[in-house]
Amino acid sequence: MTDHPTNGLDEIVHQRHRLGILTITAEAKRAEFGYLREALDLTPGNLSRHLTVLEEAGMVEVEKGYEGRRPRTWVSITRKGRSALTAELDALTKLVRGHKAEPERPASS
């Protein structure tokens, strides 16, 4: 096992929409399903599926309820999710820095 930045990438988090879900929920106490759907430009079904993946991994908690007579679904990030998000962003940052620091190789003919 090397300490290459790619080892810090989590298969669950290293997906743009799930990364987006974790990023938004880390910004707020709770995020509503409708906000996530619009912000990430997802269909309800796909968002639901991504949430299921994250919920099963213990990275988010999904709470369903009603506001008046209107059903609402609230998503909040867990401590594990916050740690995974931090690790993913750190790994991505290291990859970007490594990529920029790496000198370009001459093209082989």
Partner: protein, 305 residues
């Protein structure tokens, strides 16, 4: 993003009539996921095409948008500004009319006349401490309700509990410290009663300023941090110095009965003006109809980053 146009999440198959209530609409929790293409290809697409720069750029974009969407601090700024303005009568030397001698005007439980809340200040009149106690409690409660209602409307809840808890703890200390210091006599607790800060009866805005600093942290707002710091600094100056002197030096001689007003009105104006400015800015910021991960957006983001 390079794969922005592929994958079921961002293509034309998006359900235009989708209910924003999400899976709560069908308490089974599966939403319409069962009938849509799975995200296996989408995951593959994310691995295959999204570069680290693009993923980081998207994360920054959604974070910035979420932060902007939930910013709602104009309300507590305006509210506490108005509550501060409403305290002006208690700082008029002529209030209440025909008020009697200095000490005989104070009635009610002594612990409610805390110097931290404006009690026994040489600039304050009868009832200032009662007023500030009620005003701060009303401000905290209304702010908590505001963030809850706003969070429900926008779909993002700001963690305002820290602000409310900080305010309540500060109020508790403000009520308890004078009582404990009085009982202890000339002991070490007298250090908790700094006369220079409390003598004018203008300390409550300092408490509000500390609360706003906590709110700035909850809002993750640099602008609110600057506003709260400026307000806190001005409130401390107003507690330590007679701002009337500045007006006198400028050639504006205030009526003796109004000499305490600048110490109250100036910090209140900071709150009102910054609150009005924040309201204008936050009103202009409408969430973009297309999400940041939609087609075409990611490529722009990646270029920008």
């Amino acid at each position: 993003m390079a794969d922005g146009a592929q994958g079921p999440a961002s293509d034309g198959s998006r359900d235009p009539g989708g209910d924003s209530s999400g899976p709560a609409g069908d308490p089974g929790g599966e939403g319409s996921g069962g009938s849509e293409p799975t995200d296996a290809a989408e995951d593959h697409g994310a691995y295959a095409h999204a570069t680290p720069e693009q993923l980081l750029g998207q994360a920054r974009t959604v974070r910035r948008q979420a932060r902007r969407a939930r910013h709602a601090y104009w309300f507590p700024l305006v509210l506490f500004g108005l509550l501060s303005c409403a305290s002006v009568p208690f700082y008029l030397r002529s209030f209440p009319p025909g008020g009697g001698s200095f000490l005989s005007r104070y009635r009610g439980p002594a612990f409610l006349q805390s110097q931290y809340l404006g009690g026994f200040g040489f600039m304050t009149g009868v009832g200032a401490a009662y007023y500030w106690l009620a005003a701060i409690l009303i401000g905290l409660g209304a702010t908590a309700v505001w963030y809850r209602v706003r969070g429900n409307r926008v779909g993002l809840r700001t963690p305002s509990r820290g602000f409310v808890i900080t305010g309540l703890v500060l109020l508790a200390f403000a009520l308890l410290i004078p009582v404990l210091a009085t009982r202890a006599g000339a002991g070490p607790l007298t250090i908790l009663m700094p006369g220079d800060l409390l003598v004018r009866g203008t300390f409550p805005p300092v408490l509000i300023g500390i609360g706003l600093c906590v709110l700035a942290w909850a809002e993750r707002s640099i602008a609110l941090t600057v506003i709260a710091a400026a307000y806190l600094a001005l409130s401390l100056v107003a507690s330590l110095y007679d701002i009337e002197n500045v007006f006198y030096d400028l050639g504006w001689n205030l009526n003796p009965t109004d000499s305490g007003l600048p110490n109250v009105v100036l910090p209140a104006l900071v709150l009102l003006l910054s609150g009005a400015g924040a309201w204008v800015v936050q009103r202009r910021r409408r969430p973009s109809p297309a999400g940041p991960l939609g087609p075409g957006h990611a490529a722009t983001t990646a270029q920008a980053s």
